[in-house]
Amino acid sequence: MAHFDENAKPFSQKWLDERLAVSTLKRVLQTEYWIPKNINFLWAMGMVLAATFGILLVSGIFLLMYYKPDTNLAFDSVNYTIMSEVGYGWLWRHIHGVGASVVFLIIYIHMFVGIYYGSYKRGRELIWLSGMLLFVTFSAEAFSGYMLPWGQMSYWAGMVITNLFSGGSLEAYGLVEWIRGDYVPGDAFLTRFFMLHVLLLPLAIIGLIVLHFGTLRLPHVNNQDGEEIDFEEAAELYKAGKVKESKVIPFSPVFLSKDVFVMGVYFIFFFYLVFYHFEFAMDPVNFDPADGLKTPAHIYPEWYFLWSYEILRPFSKDLGLIAFGIAQVIFFALPFLDRSPNVAPASRRGLFKYWFWAMLIDMIILTFMGKLPPTDALFANIGLIAALTFFALWIALPIITKKEKKL
């Protein structure tokens, strides 16, 4: 800090600049953060996600004021106190519940847009990896939150998921009991998951969001054609007033206005769900208080975990566990398994076009099969085939992309 202007009025632009570098910050993060012109509304999903996370945070804070993390009190504190005593408590709960569900819908769209347009490729691998870390942390956040109302599904989901850590034939029940702090999910379990849900994981998520944005700032966002843009040159054009000729626009206020429009449409949909269809995010079984001596007839996770749950099911215990473990992490490897140098929409690439749609459809099938009861032989077989297809596709990926011609 070399020069201070003695005459700058406190809190004036100049005064702040000298102390906070607000103009520089604005330039780097907004007015001279260049965004390609040719990107469609699907690129707004990032901001939609950020906004949804904000909404989850705010509604969560309001729920936190009346929620009681105690196995005897939790169920009533949610289903009685918050739902019928606290003024507008129901609103926060519905927002929080719907938000938790919808956030995964948007995450999946965000992910598959990235896959379709090759936005995970050279130069942008870290965007993809930090994004996948966010996905995993969001999953843990969703799971730990699902425990908190302490209903039947909470309890049994907690039981089943923590049992996965026994490692199949390893029979590591000591580890499972350590994770739970008890022989079964109980008070210790509830309070530690409460801590994870309201403090540690949100903190991690916020850190990862910063990292995710950071990894994006230099390689710049990809575009609809996978075109490599010389951002400096294009930015010069824009700054010189040749707005039409330039391939870029500043993030704020120009691109942000598009983001805001998409968010507007999204929030109509979001609040429609909150006010008229919140029940889709609330499993009816979870309105029975947790009972350690009675399993619900059919245990299934929320819709966004169904595909990986279905991969667990059709195999024997150990194999299922391994398959499940691989399914959880395989998406991390995407930038390294895709051997083609092409950064282009899937439609313009070779077999990858079919790979993309096959993967998407396969995961949708897995999702449906995961919801159906496992007792029906036909559905069990479809589930098995879909699970095998999932792995076959990942094995095929390096081969078909290696053969792909350079565009």
Binding site: M159, W178, V184, H298
Partner: protein, 170 residues
């Protein structure tokens, strides 16, 4: 002179690193212990069940360490098994009522003499052996001690130790 300061810096660096590592290990251990089950949770690990009133082929579900315990007195026409808890002439199945696949509670179908787990369709016979589906092992037998007509769960009596030695408990 230059070398001398370098050596001193290296030493300081290593000393600092060593202490940090030591402190880190200590902190990790404290964190691990904080996450352990509480002594009160562990101490509440015993339950006594009276078996004298059990009816044949009717499943009783007791609770031990928060887990359901299946107690099934076998009817005269049902197969006995080395895993049975024997009291006088009576044979009992005593097992933790959690499916060995992922821990759901199987239901007992009395007419078919078998347990069915609704979660992924696993099945067990009346002696707790897995007979269908994904469960990889029989229903687990909790540590027990026979005390007259009573069963103390959580304590290893000679019968349990024998079973354990024969590898029958899981």
């Amino acid at each position: 002179m230059a070398n001398n300061t370098k050596g001193r810096r290296d030493f300081m660096g290593m000393a600092l690193g060593g202490f940090t590592a030591l402190g880190g290990i200590g902190a990790l251990y404290a964190m691990k212990r904080t996450w352990d089950p509480l002594p009160s949770v562990k101490a509440a690990g015993f339950t006594t069940i009276d078996l004298s009133a059990a009816q044949p082929n009717v499943l009783n579900v007791e609770k031990w360490r928060g887990k359901p315990i299946f107690v099934l007195k076998k009817a005269k026409d049902m197969k006995t098994d080395p895993r049975d808890v024997v009291m006088g002439d009576d044979h009992f199945l005593v097992a933790i009522g959690l499916c060995t696949h992922l821990g759901c509670i199987p239901a007992y179908l009395g007419d078919e003499h078998k347990f069915k787990c609704a979660c992924h369709g696993g099945e067990f016979d009346a002696s707790g052996h897995q007979i269908f589906g994904p469960p990889p092992s029989p229903l687990e037998i909790p540590p027990f001690k026979i005390d007259g007509t009573k069963l103390v769960l959580g304590e290893e009596g000679p019968e349990y130790q024998k079973m354990k030695a024969d590898g029958l408990t899981v």
